[in-house]
Amino acid sequence: MQPSLEPDQQLLLSTTAKFLDEFAPPAEVRRLRDHDAGFEPDYWRRGAELGWTSLLVSEDAGGGSVSDNGLVDLALIAHEFGTHAAPGPLLPTSIVAGAVSRHDPGHELVGALLCGDAVASWAFTEPVPNDALGTVTVQARVDGGDIVLRGTKRPVESAVQASHILVVAATGSGLTQVLVPTDAVGIERRSMKTVDLTRRFASVTFDDVRVPVTAVIGEVGGAAPAVEEQLQQALAILAAESVGAMQHAFDMTIEWAFNRYSFGRSLASYQALKHRFADMKTWLEASHAIADSAAQAVGAKSPDAAKLASAALAYIGHYGSELLQDCVQLHGGIGVTFEHDLHLMLRRHTLDRTLYGTPAEHRRRVAGIDQKGRNAA
């Protein structure tokens, strides 16, 4: 999160933080562990009232952001989701609301997403052996006035709760995005397990699912730029959320170090631990910095957006795990118990580093961009 915010951003942030403090405390997160959806519809509607779902939607479509960069504003919300390990389909709903509203500002789904009545999901990634980031094998084929989908996507967030899934599919050598109602014939959703307590995922199989071509968002075979933009948005959201999780775990561990005494003095007085906290603080500030840069660049569609977004996931994915696990280590045994809160943040970060490419895949993506630049030069 940036070291200084505009007053409107500050308000958005503090309103969300206060709401989550009250309605998503650790006890509630633990309770939702066995909840089918992982969140209560009313909680989600009230969050939507705070603006959570509107930030990637332009004003003419009923949305709106508080600064000139809606993704930066959304990153503030995502950061708070991270600090609270908060429930709710923030990422997929935001991505779909943005994508559909850019295609058709008057689409009725947009209104339902904005007010929190509906949930939607984005189906981009695929299972092994097609799990490399960007691989798309699900086929979208035009058949008269219909478009027919075949293949499997996973993990698809909140797919069981969603009314619609925006599916990324291949048509020839191009990409097509199709907005499929989840009650369409031929859709099978199998719930998955996850490290997170409140997020929910499914594997979704499309067995020749047939919808009218009007369900295509953008153009048939021409969706690649939109998909890339949505991916970058997803990365910026994941980065911000991950940093929020790191920040809270770090704060908890600092407090523990000051209050926990061993051999008659606080853990915070031991130089070996102090130096590890210094390293962690450095990783944390660096993570904030690259997450902010990524959100800024992606939101502004800068030329370096792809590189910064992947750099954020690569850095935060790796160093975030090191930070969170060192927080566990410094807590000792209590840090790996279910009753302690630390693992809520560890779970959220661990999930986020797997959803849209692992750190290794993002390192590769960055290197690929550099190499392309060099070859072009």
């Binding site: 061993s262 051999f263 045994g333 560890l346 797997t354 290794a360």
Partner: protein, 423 residues
């Protein structure tokens, strides 16, 4: 016992092999990540099976190889124990008895117990009748085990104990406890401790199973309230518990090289992950990915080095060219390598580390294992403590400033987070 009376190692080895091949089942592969084993019934059945295995070894003359015959052992040598370890490699064995029942608990009794205590308990351990646990760590204590707040006050021929202990493996299915408690608050930390033994299942001890974040309930916390212990169940002198404690810790650190412990040769806690890793890589379809090959190689290298290091440390300590404190080197390596190996496995799993289906086979649940990555650097003494021991005891560097030296334990700062019921 004259030395001539000793069975020679090779005939012992042959006898052990014969028994093992005829009576024990092949071992199932090692499991990592401390996953939930299932219901309490399942776990109890496993414990009963271990008791039966131990009983069978006892009856075959293969229990307590280095324990004197008068306490039910075989009165043989470490070389015999190693022969047994070789012979039992690849077979099931009573794992739950080795640590902490035989070491450190039995080892401490052999070092400090009264004749009555030894007679009462050591044969029972060897027959598989008594499973022991260490009541050592405390919720407020962390790495500072000598800072115990659990309190024992003398009352005639008895002691009355109050306090709580934590991180006891399976206290709910064990029989006896070896417990460190404070008996004097007006002297320095290490001078006011006493060691006791008592049955775990009795009024005055309440056991709570701790849920770990992966669902495992292996560990327990015990709340001790007005527990009465006869003075005859005291081990070592009053207020001299740290003399016992020092040996106790030493036995714990040198567990892997203990001659009281039966541990299939070639097995080490950190080892055996390469098979898992290859299976994961295959399930992820990445066995030919050069980056994954690099990680697989690193994992296997750490395992080979770990084995070589444990052998070196064992040889050095046996030969007396290394101090027993050098075992902290093995502990630190094990912890660090375990952390790195955990990361490597998670890397190879890829996206399925975050969300998976049961049908994912080798890829399923790996994300939960990753959440537990640090367990091998925390349990059994943290790697931080190992680094202190190595720098101060092995390399002879100046000790950390001890705020708790030279003052009565009751005056030692305990910080805002620690409450305790003091005498």
């Amino acid at each position: 016992m004259s030395e001539n009376a000793l069975e020679d190692v090779e005939s012992f080895r042959a006898r052990a092999k014969e028994f093992i091949h005829a009576n024990l089942r092949p071992s199932v592969g090692p499991s990592f990540g401390m996953r939930d084993v299932g219901s309490m019934e399942v776990e109890l059945a496993l414990v009963e099976h271990d008791r039966a295995l131990q009983r069978a070894l006892y009856e075959a003359g293969l229990a307590g190889v280095c324990v004197p015959k008068e306490y039910g052992g075989q009165g043989l040598t470490p070389a015999h124990q190693r022969a047994l370890n070789d012979a039992i490699s690849g077979f099931e064995y009573p794992g739950r008895f080795q640590a902490p029942t035989f070491s450190p608990c039995m080892a401490v009794l052999l070092d400090f117990g009264t004749e009555e205590q030894k007679q009462a308990h050591i044969p029972a351990m060897l027959r598989g009748e008594e499973l022991w646990m260490q009541f050592l760590s405390e919720p407020s204590g962390g790495s500072d085990v000598a800072g115990a707040l659990t309190n024992a006050v003398r009352d005639g021929d008895e002691w009355v104990m109050n306090g709580s202990k934590i991180w006891t493996t399976g206290a709910w299915w064990s029989d006896w406890a070896l417990c460190l408690a404070r008996t004097n608050w007006d002297v320095e930390k290490h001078r006011g401790l006493t060691v006791f033994i008592f049955p775990i299942h009795q009024a005055g001890i309440e056991i709570r199973r701790i849920e770990m974040l992966n669902g495992s309930k292996e560990f327990c916390e015990e709340f001790i309230t007005d527990l009465r212990i006869p003075d005859s169940d005291r081990v070592g002198d009053v207020d001299e518990g740290w003399t016992v404690g020092t040996r106790w810790m030493m036995h714990e650190r040198t567990l892997m090289n203990s001659s009281y412990v039966t541990m299939p040769a070639g097995r080490s806690e950190g080892g055996g992950r390469i098979g898992d890793a290859l299976a994961i890589a295959a399930a992820a379809g990445k066995q030919d990915d050069p980056v994954v090959q690099d990680l697989l190689g690193e994992l296997e290298v750490l395992e080979l080095v770990s084995n070589a290091l444990q052998r070196r440390l064992g040889d050095g300590m046996r030969a007396g060219t290394m101090s027993p404190q050098a075992s902290a080197i093995g502990r630190l390596f094990h912890g660090s390598a375990g952390v790195r190996s955990g990361s490597i496995l998670f890397e190879i799993v890829g996206a399925a580390g975050g969300a998976w289906e049961d049908e994912d086979g080798e890829l399923a649940e790996r994300g939960v294992d990753f959440l537990m990555r640090q367990i091998g650097s925390i349990g059994g003494g943290t790697t931080e403590i190992a680094r202190n021991v190595i720098s101060e005891r092995v390399l002879g560097m100046p000790r950390e400033r001890a705020v708790d030296k030279g003052i009565a334990f009751r005056d030692v700062p305990r910080g805002p987070s620690s409450q305790h019921s003091e005498a």
